[in-house]
């Protein structure tokens, strides 16, 4: 692939584990653990995986909001892996991020026009009337009314706020946009509006996207190719349809079989592969293939030897899978059972350190006063 806009080689990002208030232990969170792939000009690469697998960390490494622990990132022919903060400024013009939270990422006290105009101000590319003109142009591009230039973010709905985020990202006409869960916080009926907007803009402005989401049907819809991550590593990467039609990695199979299908008849026909256990802690990832404690096909070799990301069977070079025992077309995984010898069987504490879902509560769940349940106050933004 010579027309790569972005190319990652063995990118690693570890975080020290925070224990207690000030103490730092020697333990490391293996957030991104050796990721390599390329993104070609004009394509959308989807990045999927479950909570805590390292998608956002990888996004922040690519945009160099984080220092890399090791590895190399080439962007538009240039090695950006070791650039210093000051040297990063030109990069910011060419690479932008759109974030998940359309509420949290906009300063509530500032007017929308000045928020979208920030990039011009920071990079000194336009000021005064010229800036206003370009901001209004950007607003129009993303379907906002340019007359709302002086409004505050709170006067916009969630979907409109996400459009503001898109307008700001587009202001300087970047080459690459990294979208980190751009539609996850939006209502079903609004999600589709933003997805269409992103795809129209891609056609008009020749953009390249890295599109992160945990919703597999959304990713399938927007992506040319999809990379699936598990515990800091890419376990399978392939053209989108190829991955969804011929998933090779047991985890890809399980994940796809668990996606709720909004079609009762199709849902009833589908075989579920239910995984056991939770995602292990990224502080002490399992040995060998890090999926082995949950894998229905695991064997002794998986415990000791890490599989490389390679084309399997007669898949073409674009479809690579990191698994010693990939899943063949038509193979039924729902009955598969791991065959790990006694010497390799370790009792894995399945307390996943990292992923914290949101709390769910029982109305009378306060053990201090089980007799006096407090009504749950709904807090809304």
């Amino acid at each position: 692939m010579s027309d790569a806009l972005l190319s990652l080689t063995d990118v690693v990002k570890y975080f020290p584990v925070q224990t207690g208030h000030l103490r730092r232990s020697r333990d490391m969170v293996h957030a991104v653990d050796g990721v390599s792939f390329e993104v070609r000009r004009g394509e959308t690469l989807g990045l999927v995986g479950e909570t805590g697998c390292g998608k956002s960390t990888l996004a922040r490494c690519i945009s160099r909001l984080f220092e890399l622990t090791s590895g190399q990132i080439i962007f538009d022919g240039r090695d950006i892996s070791r650039l210093r903060p000051r040297q990063l400024r030109p990069l910011r013009r060419e690479m932008q991020m759109i974030f998940q939270d359309p509420y949290g990422s906009l300063n509530p006290k500032r007017r929308v026009g000045s928020i979208i105009g920030d990039p011009f101000a920071i990079h000194g590319t336009a000021s005064g009337a010229e800036r206003k003109r370009r901001v209004q142009e950007a607003m129009e591009l993303v379907g906002l009314n340019p007359e709302h230039y002086n409004r505050f973010p709170s006067e916009f709905s969630g979907g409109q706020r996400q459009r503001i985020g898109v307008a700001r990202a587009l202001a300087l006409r970047p080459k690459l946009i990294i979208c980190d869960e751009p539609v996850s916080a939006l209502d079903v009926s609004i999600q589709a509006q933003i997805i269409n907007l992103l795809s129209d803009l891609q056609d008009q402005l020749d953009l390249t996207y890295v599109f992160i989401a945990h919703d597999l049907s959304v990713v399938r819809h927007v992506s040319d190719r999809v990379a699936l991550m598990y515990l800091g590593k890419v376990v399978e990467i392939a053209p989108a349809e190829e991955l969804y039609q011929h998933p090779r990695h047991p985890y890809a199979n399980a994940l796809l079989s668990a996606v709720p299908i909004p079609d009762p008849i199709a849902a009833a026909k589908r075989e579920r592969i239910v995984l056991v256990g939770d995602v292990p802690s990224p502080v002490h990832p399992p040995s060998g293939c890090n999926f082995h404690p949950r894998c229905p096909k695991a064997q002794d070799r998986c415990v000791v030897e890490e599989p490389s990301l390679l084309p399997r069977f007669d898949d073409d070079e674009l479809h690579a899978t990191a698994c010693h025992f990939p899943v063949a077309d038509g193979e039924d995984l729902s009955e598969a059972r791991p065959a790990i010898g006694v010497e390799h069987r370790i009792v894995e504490p399945d307390t996943a350190g990292a992923p914290t879902g949101l709390g769910v509560s029982v109305a009378h769940g306060s053990p201090g006063s089980p007799e006096s349940p407090e009504p749950v106050e709904r807090r809304r933004s």
């Binding site: 949101l358 509560s361 009504p375």
Partner: protein, 339 residues
Amino acid sequence: MALLEVKDLYVSFSTMDGVVQAVRGVSFSVDRGQTLGIVGESGSGKSVATQTVTGLTRGAKISGQALFEGKDLLTMTQKELRSVRGAKIGMIFQDPLSSLHPYYRIGWQIVEMIHAHEPGTPKAKARARAVDLLRLVGIPQPERRIDDYPHQFSGGMRQRAMIAMAMSLNPVLLIADEPTTALDVTVQAQVLRVIERLQTEFGTAVILITHDLGVIAEVADDVVVMYAGAAMESGARDEIFYEYHHPYTEGLLRSLPAYGEERERLRPIPGQPPSLIRLPSGCPFHPRCPYVFDRCRSETPPLDPTWGGPGHRSACWLPHTKAEREAVRDRVIGEAVPS
């Protein structure tokens, strides 16, 4: 008689900006062993409706009826309600602010729950029941994990622990408000399976609130589709998915990326959901509806029967016969897809 029958429920809040009409005349019912799915977008009144029924809404103006085993929950005293909640109605909330108590061991919290409602249960017996419950919801090595603190559990495990707690007194009704929304799909599949199993084993009725039509497709028997505080359509699950009448239901289904089909342009519902303080006149969906005609702007359509089964109703002025409804769709949506 239905286990729970909610009739013409209205809930409104006075706020600085004006009166928020959160729930406007909603009716639904659920039978033993059945799952009722409530869908609709953010702010459509799903949580307020169910929390009001169980007496957990404060500072609101409420009217209507909520008959549970024949008795009206809305007129019960707090004391009566308290004994119903937990013992007969288990609740799982999506609320990060009031999750499991962080300072107490998981097992202790469940045991305490059992004691609160069944004083006199021997300690060992309550603890054994807690272990069983944790096993039932798929917590591995429950004998050991029962003494963990909540932070030692992963998000998915905590969610399951909370289901265990909600189920600890064998409630006849489980109200689950977005129980899986923040979970990964593999864990979500596990949790939904747990709820289903409890249901077949104990005949528990379930009200499942979600905005995920995929989850509804998998587990609901009946469905209520809410928009702007009111039910737009209700019916058996397959009626909602394959024989929908209401344009909002249609819009929701059409805006999803088609699963397993060629990549094509999505067909979103245009516009934004309305403010609940200043509702549109007539049909609340009219500003976004591709079928809108004059009458929709001035008169609010009632939730009337359609051609489907007895429970299939839709609040829309379009013709209520199948052939006519389909003819309108072909005419309006058929060639030009609004976007």
